[in-house]
Amino acid sequence: LVVAARRGDRQALDALLRAHYDQVYAVCFRLVGNAPDAADATQDALIAIVRGLPRFDGRSRFSTWIYRIATNAALDEIRRRARRPLLGHSGADQPESGRVETAASQPSDERAVDDRLAVDAALQRLPVEFRAAVVLRDLLDLEYADISVILEVPPGTVRSRIARGRALLAEMLGPPGNPDPAARRPSERP
């Protein structure tokens, strides 16, 4: 698909983008924290992918290259958001047009949903460099070496950022089995 897409095969490019779209969106959503900004970052990433495809040289895996573009698009979106004036609700706490699919999304399992929301909110409170490392590792299951290429930091830094990010998440979420989900939900927004 990559070779055909690089040759200008529109159908191959369409299939390639569809094959990776959900992962790109997931990375963007997890990094920016809300659906509208995730949508913008995803669109930017897709445009960057088609622009850069003729120059993709195969030095890294195609998926790694795509995730690097998605990560940079999301980080750029976060920078843009920081420069934007806040107009009421930013949507940072709740997904809007997107939804979060979980293993326990049934209405009867409120505790599991609460826990999930607590994790989502805690993730958004992490410093962005830790968040990016944790998301790339735990959401996409990427190796440290690939994350190192994507984030442009040495593998040792990747390892420490993931560890620090997980430790901060653990601190924010409180002890396991806390009977009060509200106590485990971070109260402050990023």
Partner: protein, 264 residues
């Protein structure tokens, strides 16, 4: 940014979860109940992040992909235009080369005529038309109109930065200069926010810096890396030519040249 010092046990346990420890560290975790308990806790967090996967709106997906495909169509058109320009430049170059060779030959012939004219007027009389033709042959490729056409065409074909600056907005596609791969991971050398006006001064100030080049984008040939910046709202890498004559500004996202800034 300064990295906070990680708690060693956190890093050990986290690496253990990722199967990124050696046998000794693995044994240490597995033989220490506190570390095992911590590993269980972090595993729960890892699983929560892993299983909480946002799913995009299908209509939004279709719209995004359609927009990207439209962008791709622009890229292909631009590539064709570039190829046509390159072919046209090749034809003009060949024509210019032929004219230059003809001119040189005419000059040589003229010099021979001059030498022979000192030896005898009759020889000069027979070669005068050829000598008279030399200047016009040499002038042909350098008339103002031709020179402008050839030089602008050459510029369009051989200066990707200038081309990028003019075509990105129109067609959304640019080129990067020929380059060699860079292996070393980068360290951040942030030059701050710059624009077309402030860029020359900032980049002149940075031209003697040589932090490790970024691994993600290839280093433009004949340049060295000086740092990252926000240029006209875009996150970029900045490279300065080894002669310090100009700086190449490259989009960090796409590795595409967005500006070629003269420094002299």
């Amino acid at each position: 940014m300064t990295e906070p010092a990680p708690v060693p046990d956190d890093e050990l346990v986290s690496a253990y979860l990722d199967d990124a420890v050696d046998a000794a560290d693995r044994a240490r975790v597995e033989n220490t109940p506190e570390l095992l308990a911590q590993a269980d806790r972090l595993a729960g967090i890892r699983n929560a992040v892993a299983t909480s996967r946002p799913v995009p709106d299908p209509r939004q997906r279709d719209e995004h992909i359609a927009n990207a495909l439209a962008e791709a169509a622009g890229v292909i058109d631009l590539a064709e235009r570039r190829e046509r320009r390159t072919r046209r430049f090749a034809v003009l170059s060949a024509a210019a080369a032929v004219l230059v060779v003809a001119g040189v030959l005419a000059l040589i012939a003229g010099r021979n005529d001059h030498d022979t004219s000192t030896a005898g007027k009759s020889v000069a009389a027979t070669t005068a038309p050829s000598a008279a033709g030399a200047p016009s042959a040499l002038a042909a490729p350098t008339t103002p109109a031709d020179a402008a056409g050839a030089s602008s065409d050459r510029a369009a074909s051989t200066t990707p930065a200038a081309e990028a600056a003019t075509t990105t907005v129109a067609a959304g596609a640019t080129t990067t200069p020929a380059s060699r791969p860079v292996a070393a991971p980068s360290s951040t050398a942030d030059l701050g926010t710059i624009d077309a006006e402030s860029a020359p001064a900032v980049l002149r100030g940075a031209r003697d810096r040589r932090p490790p080049a970024p691994a993600a984008c290839a280093l433009p040939s004949g340049t060295h890396y000086v740092g990252t910046a926000i240029y006209e709202g875009t996150s970029v890498y900045a490279f300065v030519t080894d002669s310090s004559a100009s700086a190449i500004v490259v989009d960090r996202l796409t590795c595409v040249v967005v500006a070629d800034v003269p420094l002299t």
